[in-house]
C-alpha cells in the first residue's frame, strides 16, 4: 500500500514489484496476491489496461488514518465499538491533572523510601 501511495498514477504489478525488490526479496506472485486482496477489500482500485491490471489507491493515507483514529478513540458510552479495542488509558474517564500528579508523586516517594531502606 505504501508503494501504491508513492506512485503518481495507477501502477502495474510489475512496477510495484520492481519498487519493492529494491529493498527486499519478494516474489512477483506475492505482490500480485496482495494487490488483489487490497482491491477486494476496497483499499485499492483495479483498472483494466489491455491484458494487465493497473492498481491505484482508493483512499489516501490521511483518510485511512482518520478512520482508524475515529474508531480507536470512539468512546461513545454503550457503543459496541468501545469493547472492540482495549485501550491503555480510557479517554472516557478523564482524571483531573492534579489528582494524577499527586498519585504519581506519592508512588515515586514511596519507591524512593524503599530504595533507602533496602540498599
Amino acid at each position: 500500500m505504501d508503494q501504491l501511495w508513492a506512485f503518481e498514477g495507477p501502477a502495474t504489478v510489475r512496477q510495484v514489484h520492481d519498487a519493492l525488490s529494491r529493498t527486499r526479496d519478494i516474489a512477483y506472485t506475492t505482490v500480485m496476491t496482495v494487490l488483489d486482496r487490497l482491491a477486494r477489500k476496497g483499499s485499492a482500485e483495479q483498472l483494466r489496461d489491455g491484458r494487465a491490471y493497473r492498481y491505484r489507491p482508493a483512499v489516501s493515507r490521511e483518510e485511512l488514518t482518520a478512520e482508524l483514529m475515529h474508531q480507536a478513540l470512539d468512546t461513545v458510552d454503550g457503543s459496541d465499538r468501545t469493547l472492540a479495542l482495549l485501550r491503555f488509558v480510557d479517554s472516557a474517564t478523564p482524571d483531573d491533572a492534579e489528582a494524577l500528579r499527586a498519585a504519581l508523586a506519592e508512588l515515586e516517594q514511596r519507591r524512593a523510601d524503599d530504595g533507602d531502606t533496602q540498599p
Binding site: M1, K41, S43, R61, L64, T65, E67, L68, M69, Q71, A72, L73, T75, V76, D77, D80, R81, L83, A84, L85, L86, R87, F88, V89, D90, S91, A92, T93, P94, D95, D96, A97, A99, L100, R101, A102, A103, L104, E106, L107, E108, R110, R111
Partner: protein, 297 residues
C-alpha cells in the same frame, strides 16, 4: 421437590443480580486480588443466570408432579416456560450480534493497522502509527496487534513505552476481551430498565488491574505510573464523560499501595466463587431434577 423450589431460585437470582454485584463493586479486596475477583464476578454471573433459568424451568416442570392440574395452573406454568425460553433466545441473539459486530470492527482495525502501521525500534513488536494524538491500545483476537502512536512514543521514556506494551500484551495474551465480551452479552440481553452497568464496569476495571500487574512485573511500577500519567493528560472528547471504570489516578494509587500478588486474599475468594456456583446447583437443582425424573418414570 416442593413448590418452593422456583421461589428459592428466583430469590437467589435476584440477590445475585442486584445486591450481590452492588456489594462486590463497593468492596476493597478486589484491588488486592483482581484475578480472584474476576473469577468471583464470573461465578456470580453464571450462578445468577443458572438460578434464573432454573427458576423458570422448575416452575414449568412443577406441573408434572400434580395429579390432576387445573387449567389455570397449566397456563401459569406454560407462561413460566415461555418466559425462560425468551430469556435464552435473547441471550443467544445478544451473543450473536455483539460477537459479529466486535469481530467485524476488529477485522477492519487490523486491516487499517496493517496498512498504516510501521515497525519502530523504540517500540519493538508493536505497530507504530503516525497519528496526531498520543494513544496506545491492543486489538484482541488471533492474530492480535499492539498499537502505539508516534506522539505517545515521543512523550514517554523507553522504560515507560516498555510498560505500555507489556500492559497491552497482557490483555492480548490473557484474552481479557473474552471476559468483557461475556459480560457485555449478559448486559445487552436484558431490557434497559432492569440491567445495570455494575458488573461490566467492575470487570473492565479488573482486567486493567491485571494488565497493570503484568506490566509492573516487566518494567517496575514507577515507569508504568509515569506512562499512565503521561498518556492520560490528553484531553477527553466532549460528551464522553462516564465516571465508570477505574481511572488512571486510581490505578496509580493502587500501584503505590497494593503489592503485585496477595495470595492471602485470593484463596478465600476462589473458594467463595466455587461455593457460589456449587451450592445452589447441589442444594436446589439436584432435588428438583430427581423429582422430575421420578415423576416421569
Amino acid at each position: 421437590m416442593t413448590p418452593a423450589t422456583p421461589v428459592v431460585l428466583l430469590v437467589l437470582a435476584l440477590a445475585l443480580t442486584g445486591p450481590g454485584p452492588a456489594a462486590l463493586a463497593r468492596a476493597r479486596w478486589p484491588l488486592r486480588a483482581p484475578r480472584a475477583a474476576l473469577v468471583f464476578w464470573q461465578a456470580m454471573a453464571l450462578s445468577a443466570l443458572l438460578a434464573a433459568l432454573g427458576a423458570g424451568l422448575s416452575a414449568a416442570t412443577l406441573v408434572l408432579v400434580y395429579q390432576d392440574p387445573h387449567p389455570v395452573v397449566v397456563a401459569l406454568h406454560s407462561a413460566a416456560l415461555l418466559l425462560t425460553l425468551v430469556v435464552v433466545a435473547r441471550l443467544l441473539w445478544s451473543a450473536h450480534t455483539l460477537g459479529t459486530a466486535l469481530r467485524a470492527g476488529r477485522r477492519r482495525q487490523r486491516h487499517l493497522v496493517d496498512l498504516l502501521g510501521r515497525a519502530d525500534a523504540r517500540a519493538p513488536g508493536a505497530d507504530v502509527l503516525d497519528a496526531e494524538r498520543p494513544l496506545a491500545y491492543c486489538i484482541p483476537g488471533v492474530p492480535s496487534r499492539v498499537v502505539i502512536s508516534t506522539p505517545a512514543i515521543d512523550r514517554l521514556a523507553d522504560d515507560e513505552v516498555t510498560a505500555v506494551l507489556a500492559h497491552e500484551r497482557a490483555h492480548a495474551r490473557a484474552r481479557h476481551d473474552l471476559v468483557l465480551e461475556a459480560f457485555a452479552v449478559l448486559h445487552n440481553a436484558f431490557p434497559r430498565f432492569v440491567r445495570s452497568r455494575t458488573a461490566l464496569d467492575a470487570t473492565a476495571g479488573l482486567v486493567e488491574m491485571l494488565a497493570d500487574d503484568a506490566a509492573r512485573r516487566r518494567s517496575g511500577d514507577v515507569p508504568l505510573a509515569r506512562a499512565l500519567a503521561g498518556l492520560s493528560t490528553a484531553p477527553a472528547p466532549p460528551g464522553a464523560l462516564a465516571a465508570t471504570s477505574v481511572t488512571p489516578a486510581a490505578r496509580i494509587r493502587r500501584l503505590a499501595h497494593v503489592p503485585a500478588s496477595a495470595p492471602l486474599v485470593s484463596a478465600p475468594a476462589y473458594l467463595a466463587a466455587a461455593a457460589l456456583f456449587a451450592i445452589p446447583t447441589v442444594a436446589v437443582a439436584v432435588p428438583w431434577l430427581s423429582a422430575v425424573t421420578a415423576s416421569l418414570t
